[in-house]
Symmetry: D2
Subunit: 137 residues, 4 copies
């Protein structure tokens, strides 16, 4: 996974990412960005983005950031997400970046913004998580 | 939110939960259980359940477990999820339970199992997270 | 690390655990328990156990629980701790147990109780964390 | 808690921080820094800083960063720490900063470096955690 086109191909090969409607708009050593237009069926009962959509965004943005550091044969080992405010707007934008990488594992952080129709963005969640190379047992 | 029928109504009012196809099969002081049949569009590129589906399951099972303890006016503040094995099978089953609750907040834990066609289940992720009463500022 | 005597020897070989005054009172496949008498110099400015003492207890109880599953050549990869109430009493008791273990890694959970002079215990923190075998690069 | 002198007074009033030997070297809206000289009694059995010392550093650096944002009447609600490499050197330096703050709560991130005798520093752990105003029930 060395180019954004490769990353887009991976995303397109994930049926759940297609269902969500996620797009990858940045990919490289400086980080990865996923965008998710907030269709009505991504919301919860009060009209905000469902927490599960934010956690999907964190999971996948962290994974792509780790993939940029480690290559494509990785497994995400877990993450922590803190929700900061209800997400209401046009678009979720999740940016993630490796803060530490060895040959085997990467620790990444992610910020998730909600962007309104005027283009203004607000931080609505922050995550930290890890991925490591897949090891044959 | 005092009965499983109320909980089912809340779940049905979450468009994202309807999109995922989640069902609530247990709800009460002993915990909440969500089940998610693993349709092809919930998978990632290798045929396993996408991590974002597991994190959705954790987020929502934790929230329902907290709701059983605190009532419906709650906000999930965040959670940690550890992925334990790739999830391949017929169904995800996420069970969650409050391990501590005050009037204002609840700490819950969740286990996510994947169930195969023979009915055998394997633990594939574990989560810990919190919710608290919505406070008017 | 196959017996509680081995575990006690490991704890005694950790200068920081000696400084804290931790003792291991249970060790085995059903979990590990550390106890920490709450001397005045383990407190914070309001007279409660310092959060760092609770996080030490979580770190080490999780590590011993993982060691019981994986053997002694392990490294703790991280953990999450949620603080539930201020800890005031005679003793901290941290119990931890593996909820999942492969040959290479273990996911453990820990509960930290504060015990008062009457022997009554209250849950004051809960943690979840992982350890894995040390791998030669 | 409006000045670094106030922050130093708080740290000096924490018996456990005195036991550890922590010093606060930066405090303000741009973040807080704690330093911990690595005395022998802060180590584990292999000569590295004990994980519990790193988790103490994370807990307290996160709390001071939140205090700079929210004022002194706060409680730390929890945090996640990922250990990245064994910490061997002269000094631990934990820097933390609020990434989001409302009037009631702050989400902070922390990086912990180990500094060797040549002054070179390496990232050995990263944490994310929250604190909020103490609320009267």
């Amino acid at each position: 996974m060395t180019s954004i086109d490769d990353a887009k191909a991976v995303l397109a090969a994930q049926p759940f990412s297609v269902l969500i409607g996620a797009e990858i708009t940045e990919y490289g050593p400086d980080g990865s960005t996923l965008e998710i237009p907030l269709r009505p069926d991504l919301l919860q009962q009060f009209g905000f983005a469902h927490g599960g959509v934010l956690s999907y965004a964190a999971d996948n943005a962290l994974t792509f950031a780790a993939g940029a550091a480690l290559g494509p044969s990785i497994v995400t080992t877990g993450f922590t997400i803190d929700y900061l405010r209800p997400a209401q707007g046009e678009l979720l934008r999740a940016t993630a970046k490796a803060v530490n990488a060895t040959r085997r594992q990467a620790l990444c952080r992610c910020e998730i913004y909600v962007v309104d129709s005027a283009g203004e963005s607000k931080l609505c969640a922050a995550a930290q998580g890890s991925a490591r190379l897949i090891e044959l047992n």
